[in-house]
């Protein structure tokens, strides 16, 4: 297991290096003076501009600039946001928990409900449940995240007043810890549902397809011939194999989930990283945009690595060599 993890970790280095180069290329190719991108479109003190110019060696050859940029990034210096007047790294890390909460909730909803509904479909392919859920799945897959969010917001929050309209907490002070948790959950419900829908639909389809694929296999006939209950055959025998592609897909979807989080947070004014990036775009706060992009990429890549490790842990064929 350990050599596998080490190998995967090593394979990430060129990818992250590539992202740093991409960030650098964006700065260099952006219209206007690169210092503008490093400082942002906000009036910065001239001394700071001069300091940035020197630190990044902007009057030196491009290769020197690249090395300086990379070394700054590696030291965790992602620049300074003049709109918030705070270092970019602090801002981004401060917003991370809210986004992780939202993404985690969406991931749990979409995985658990997706697999359960997928089993309901795949058990009897062609049944009424199956075809209904398949159509619903396509609908869920085709809904634009932000529009679904707007509809839920209009119907359930503004019209029926069942859910708060925005943010993560009520302004009430002096709540007990339990009440505070419930308050956050109340705020979380609609954004999490919005973000989960697309992946819920995807997981239903994927679970169904892979369950149908294994259902013809002989080991299932053996299990049935032994007289095991159908429930045991499906959940213990068939699903265990059928889940492998689903786990891979969940890992690959982390990156897309981030995109969905940006949109969802914008609709519900959820105080996370996505909302921060949206505000950065609004205020043309370039250092914040690029810094956010780099941090999110690292998170996504790590999330993917974790999914890969989980996969290797479930399926010994992967970790014991035999590269597919």
């Amino acid at each position: 297991m350990l050599p596998y993890v080490a190998r995967r970790l090593a394979s990430l280095i060129p990818l992250l290096a590539g992202m740093v180069v991409l960030g650098f290329a964006i700065i260099q190719l952006a219209p206007g003076d690169p210092v503008q991108v490093l400082v942002g479109d906000y009036p910065a003190p001239p001394e700071y501009v001069q300091q940035v110019r020197e630190r990044f060696g902007l009057d030196r050859p491009v290769i020197v600039q690249l090395v300086r940029y990379a070394s700054q990034v590696l030291r965790g210096n992602l620049g300074h946001s003049f709109f918030y007047n705070e270092p970019v790294l602090d801002l981004v890390i401060g917003r991370l928990p809210a986004t992780l909460l939202l993404m985690g909730a969406a991931l749990v909803i979409s995985s658990v409900a997706g697999v359960l509904l997928g089993v309901a479909c795949g058990r009897r392919p062609g049944s009424l449940t199956d075809s209904t859920l398949l159509v619903l799945g396509l609908v869920g897959y085709s809904l634009p995240v932000f529009w679904l969010g707007q509809l839920l917001l209009m119907g359930l929050s503004l019209k029926l007043d069942w859910f708060p309209t925005q943010g993560m907490r009520s302004l009430t002070v002096g709540l007990s810890p339990l009440a505070r948790g419930l308050d956050v959950a109340h705020h979380l419900a609609l954004p999490a549902l919005t973000l989960a829908t697309r992946y819920l639909a995807l997981n239903v389809r994927l679970t169904r397809a892979s369950l149908v694929e294994v259902s013809g296999m002989e080991y299932l006939q053996t299990a049935r011939a032994k007289g095991l209950a159908e429930r045991v055959v499906i959940y213990k025998h068939a699903l265990r194999n059928a889940l492998l592609p689903v786990v891979t897909m969940i890992g690959l979807n982390v990156g897309h989930l981030v995109a969905g989080a940006v949109l969802t947070e914008t609709v519900f004014a959820w105080p996370g990283l996505g909302r921060l990036i949206f505000d950065a775009i609004l205020h043309r706060d370039y250092p914040l945009m690029l810094g956010g992009l780099l941090v999110v990429t690292v998170c996504v890549v790590v999330g993917n690595l974790l999914a890969d490790i989980a996969y290797a842990w479930i399926d010994p064929r992967i970790r014991l060599g035999s590269r597919a």
Partner: protein, 281 residues
Amino acid sequence: MGRVSLREIWLRLRRHPAGLLGLAGALCFTLLAIIGPWVAPADPMALNPNALRPPGRGHWLGTDDLGRDILSGVLHGARVSLVVGLLAAAGSVLVGVAVGAAAGYWRGRVEGALMRLTEWVLVIPQFLIVLVVAAIFGADLRLVVVVLALVGWTATARLTRAQFLALGEREFVVAARSLGAGDGRIIGRQILPNALAPIVVAGSLQIPAAILAEASLRFLGLADPNRVSWGGMLNQAQNFLQQAWWMPVFPGVAIFLTVLSFNLAGEALNEALAPRGRGAR
């Protein structure tokens, strides 16, 4: 898998009513994109004093906060969405086929490097890159198409590579090579035509993905100031959800139905062109 005749495709399609519906829908929206701007009752950018009018006579789908006609906006927006969807999908197929064909044909080190690259592009948060690039370089339509194509090719590349690996050893390829055909000829004339069906399917599913991505960009405020777009209309609607339900509902329905149609159509194409059990061996 041999090539299938048009008649055979039609017979298979007929068994998927939902898919046919999707194809019909996709055709309708394409038609709308062509004629929409001509039949629109008003200039979608023209301001007028009747702001926030509910749907009714004069403005069938109502007006927005600046008095602009929503129906005209939806009709004009169709062209933007479809153009971006089709061009970005076509671009991503071109890149994907080039990468996948090179990897599957030459194998070895070329394959290793290209597939590693594919894996990276698959892992990185693609939409965020598109977002940042559009925010810094301007959300011009052409730039958006190019960037969407540059991040959307991975599925096609993987598929093309698999097809090339499977077909590269077949008798007709060996025969062509022994007759002295060059690499280009073997790739273009022998393998590619036989690998086309699944590539078309993967490419067709890239259309709704690109349409959604474009709408998302516009929703986040990265609009092309000279063009109306569905996502941009939803961005505008965000502040009027309470007063004017028609502002978010109609452009959203347009995006949703277009994406749904193309997804259904892609699904139907999948069944018709590469039926299960007869796929690549």
